[in-house]
């Protein structure tokens, strides 16, 4: 339990450090933010005045502290492009991304683990070969390419699913599949090899000798042992989903955080870029924390 506390504290420090880095990077990345807001005819003085108004003339650390304070009071500032309040914008985007990301995470583990288990159980059968080849493909094909292929097949040729936008569940299917493809593939491979390895452990023979059923040995004992490495890398899966969401949301016109962030970067709308990139940092860090706590709780040696 002590280790959980330690991890949480470390995560908090990491969160501050990484958000500060993102915060500074946005300011140092160059490009004139005033160009987005002020007309081309604005004078240097006008521009300087604007900088002062939005606080850009302050030292970065000072700006950061002010900003964090504002975030905690729910004031996220306004978009530079249309002056809309970011908080009103954020709720909808976060909800959409949470749906897509959550669905993808469910697919990564909900599809990856069972497929890996089947492949391990039926190893060297045609079923195993099929599942393994699919997972190799899942890792080899870049996700934008997979997106284009799936759009072509299921939207253009077959017309079963919409190619972009948001609406019912049919709009969620393609983006969620593309977003989770690599994670599923990695989870299948990890589950398969962990199950096969654990099946040959001495303790399995002990359980068989005690008369436990194969099903119980496989689904309770071997699975529980095999979940450890999967849980320990679950943080990486979250990070992957967050990272790929930028591409996938943009391709599928999914109105979430990723699409919003890409648009804001293109328009140099730095308050929007700032909030949403910090949000992503937050989610990734939190994902890692959850994975690490999960690992501790799942491992008797660490739990005690």
């Amino acid at each position: 339990m002590k280790s959980v506390l330690k991890t949480t504290l470390l995560t908090l420090l990491l969160l501050i450090a990484s958000s500060l880095a993102v915060f500074a990077a946005i300011r140092l990345s160059g490009g004139d933010v005033t160009a987005a807001r002020l007309p081309a005819s604005a004078t240097a003085e006008d521009r300087e005045l604007f900088r002062q108004q939005v606080g850009l003339d302050q030292p970065i650390l000072r700006q950061y502290v002010t900003y964090v304070g504002e975030v905690f009071t729910g004031d996220l500032g306004n978009s530079l492009t249309n002056n809309a309040s970011i908080s009103s914008l954020a709720v909808e985007k976060i909800k959409n991304s949470a749906i897509l990301g959550g669905m993808s995470l469910v697919l990564v583990f909900g599809v990856g683990i069972p497929l890996g288990m089947i492949a391990a159980l039926k190893r060297n059968s045609w079923l195993d070969t099929g599942i393994t080849s699919f997972s190799v493909a899942g890792m080899a094909v870049p996700n934008f390419w997979l997106a284009l292929i799936l759009i072509y097949i299921f939207a253009t040729v077959l017309g079963w699913l919409p190619s972009a936008g948001q609406g019912g569940i049919e709009y969620l299917i393609l983006p969620a599949v593309v977003l989770s493809a690599e994670g599923i593939a990695l989870t299948v491979r990890m589950t398969r090899s962990a199950m096969i390895e654990n099946l040959s452990q001495d303790f399995v023979r002990t359980l068989r000798a005690a008369g436990l059923s194969e099903r119980r040995i496989y689904f309770k004992h071997v699975l529980r042992n095999s979940l450890l490495p999967i849980i320990s890398l679950a943080g990486l899966r979250v990070g992957q989903i967050v990272g790929y969401a930028l591409v996938v949301e943009t391709i599928f016109g999914w109105p979430g955080v990723g699409q919003q962030l890409v648009n804001a970067v293109l328009r140099r709308d730095y308050p929007v870029v700032q909030f949403f990139s910090l949000l992503l940092v937050f989610v990734v860090t939190l994902g890692n924390l959850a994975a690490s706590v999960g690992y501790t709780l799942a491992n008797p040696r660490l739990r005690k």
Partner: protein
């Protein structure tokens, strides 16, 4: 008149089969385990002791290993013919097994209690409370001092000796008629070894069980076992009452083993290989497997495989038994 054996292994062969390869590792092994006795099986590393033991409960790695001949009769039923479901009903309930390396033989993710109660529930329809009670009793019977505390502990919290007692408790929970112990104390230090072997011997007497004890240690055989079988290169070469065999070994291999042991009952009484090497199962000679290492070897030994025959009061596989 001797009673019928409880477990009667008859002409058992276990072999490796696969792409273009096929040879037997355990060959024509016959062993009888009578009610309420300890049968020791001894022999150099690799001679097929574990494989013989595992095949009784069909626990050998299959593929690539298969039972290629013979039968294993338990109370008149041939275990080699059982369906997986029927075999599962025998495992742990009629015949239990204790393995060599207790640390890796216990599932690290579950407590001792979970392990024992799952084993109880695999064979008995009892409530969780009753399963717990049975498990605690088995832990106590296995010689564990504080069963309640151990019940909630994980394998990593146990010493080697306690782990092995947990393995014994696991073997006891369903009150089997036979315990097969495959080098149960090799991984442990000497005092713990002695305690655990004593406990096994006492349990045999208290519960009227039979024990098949695989060991390298002739001192252990002398102090614990009633009868013994000596294996060499996958075959039984000599078997009989411990007193008879150890006092007057008739097979040159057994003879060599005994003279290689300076003092019986000492720590140094591990089986010391006699000069030369055990032939691999895939390169066995046509005649006697021991011929290359035997000082009594004749031409007949090299051409004609010796059968297991009565000699004096033991069974010996040799053309020229030592008198």
């Amino acid at each position: 008149m001797t009673p019928d054996p409880l477990l009667d292994i008859r002409n058992l062969s276990v072999g490796l089969r696969g792409d273009g390869i096929g040879y037997d590792i355990v060959r024509d092994v016959s062993l009888s385990l009578y009610p309420n006795e300890v049968l020791a099986v001894v022999g150099e590393s690799g001679c097929g002791k574990s494989l013989t033991a595992l095949s009784i409960l069909a626990l050998h790695a299959s593929p690539p290993l298969y039972i290629t001949g013979g039968s294993i009769l338990f109370e008149g039923t041939d275990l080699t013919k059982l369906s997986p479901a029927k075999m599962r009903a025998v495992r742990g309930a009629e015949i239990a097994m204790v393995f060599q390396d207790p640390m890796s033989a216990l599932d690290p993710m579950f407590t001792v209690g979970t392990l024992l109660t799952s084993a109880v529930k695999a064979h008995q329809k009892v409530s969780a409370d009753v399963a717990k009670k049975i498990s605690l009793e088995a832990l106590a019977d296995a010689g564990i001092e504080d069963p309640r505390r151990r019940f909630d502990e994980y394998p990593f919290q146990l010493s080697g000796g306690v782990s092995q007692r947990v393995m014994i408790a696991l073997a006891l929970v369903n009150d089997p008629k036979i315990i097969i112990a495959d080098e149960p104390t090799t991984a442990l230090d000497v005092t713990v070894q002695a305690q655990i072997l004593d406990r096994l011997r006492e349990l045999k007497n208290e519960r009227g069980m039979s024990v098949m004890l695989i060991t390298h240690n002739l001192g252990v055989v002398a102090s614990v076992a009633d009868r013994m079988a000596v294996m060499y290169a996958g075959e039984v070469v000599e078997s009989g009452a411990v007193g008879e065999v150890l006092a007057a070994p008739h097979h040159p291999y057994t003879n060599g083993l005994l003279s290689a042991v300076p003092r019986l009952n000492s720590e140094a009484s591990e089986l010391v290989p006699i000069g030369g090497r055990v032939p691999q199962p895939n390169e066995l000679p046509a005649g006697c497997a021991f011929a290359d290492r035997c000082s009594f070897v004749t031409d007949r030994c090299r051409s004609e495989h010796p059968p297991l025959e009565h000699h004096a009061r033991t069974e010996v596989r040799c053309h020229h038994p030592v008198a």
